[in-house]
Symmetry: C2
Subunit: 206 residues, 2 copies
């Protein structure tokens, strides 16, 4: 098996897949070129051949993590696609985070790296804004339709502020799930979020 050639796209995918496995298991700090090569069943030199440096490999990995796995749409797509309520959207995102602890953990790693690294930081900021803008536009749409009975309590608060708060609820949940998945009761949390944020509680999804 080793030694045979493969088309570039396929090989890059193979390497990124191995990198993802290593990164989720060992964390970003424990993710080394040697280990990735080992897991991929390839030689270290080949990684430097397809991605020219470790830095670029990790950037590609971040891209693939942000892009979402097949069948796991990012919120941006989820927002633009369906006609779901904001409440259901937030609930879906929370459940999504809880179901995918390892990806969340990896994202926390990237977030931590992005705090100091300009490139990673820029990329994450862009993603964050995309995320928030998508949420906001849906909030505006919902408000205009007068649904969710949200007019009362939210009066006077900008849609941007609401979006930021909702994002905090999602990310705050992710942060806790990342470090203490067992000590987190999803349903109880969602119930509290419903009561706090929306006048009408979200019907529990069966």
């Amino acid at each position: 098996m080793p030694g045979t050639k493969a088309p570039e796209a396929e090989r890059r995918e193979q390497i990124l897949s191995a990198a993802f496995r290593v990164a989720t298991r060992e964390g970003l700090e424990g993710t080394t070129m040697l280990r990735i090569a080992d897991v991929a069943g390839l030689s270290p030199g080949l990684l430097a051949f397809h991605f020219k440096s470790k830095r670029l490999l990790l950037r590609a990995l971040l891209e693939s993590v942000l892009g979402g796995a097949p069948g796991r749409p990012t919120i941006a797509t989820a927002v633009s696609v369906g006609r779901v309520t904001v409440a259901k959207l937030v609930e879906a995102e929370i459940r999504h985070a809880c179901a995918d602890v390892w990806r969340v953990r990896l994202l926390v790693d990237f977030w931590s790296a992005g705090v100091r690294d300009v490139e990673f930081g820029d990329r994450l900021r862009v993603e964050y804004r995309r995320y928030r803008d998508a949420l906001r536009s849906r909030i505006v749409a919902t408000q205009r339709e007068g649904r969710d009975g949200a007019d009362g309590d939210w009066a006077g608060v900008s849609a941007d502020g609401i979006a930021t708060v909702l994002l905090s609820l999602i990310h705050g949940c992710a942060l806790q799930v990342a470090i203490d998945p067992d000590g987190f009761d999803i349903d109880s949390y969602i119930a509290a979020v419903s009561a706090a944020v929306l006048s009408s509680p979200i019907p529990a999804s069966t």
Copy 2:
């Protein structure tokens, strides 16, 4: 100056101070024994003499970060001390996080490390629970006094759930401030939090 002796406590403090400076500036990943020694103006061997390993040094650093700087009480102390409302407490924590970006960033680093490292993880889980319990007990007290007019919307939701949500609002804010301090409008955020979480808005602190 170098070569002179010092009492153990003093020297440890000196080293930890240098470690803190390095860690906030370079991140946890860029925090190396050599750099700490350099910043502290000491020899590398001395670090291994007072803390027996890098791991223990970082644990001590985490402890000092969690303990809070002088004049910067942790929420646990803030809760037990004053008779402030929950609303004001949350607001204070949010402003606290925004004012101390570097400490928040360092905590994000530790959080990311704690996801994989058992010792750091355990320590952070303990701290998180302390934090949440303190919040919850104050929520219970407030509910009992019938203040904040929180009975309506919060009916049926456990104090624990409320505490978790409030913590998410604090940590979610911290997460964004860590990576994008400029793109975060504190007052707007606090206004949104007030509207979302409490029936009666928090009067802005002058």
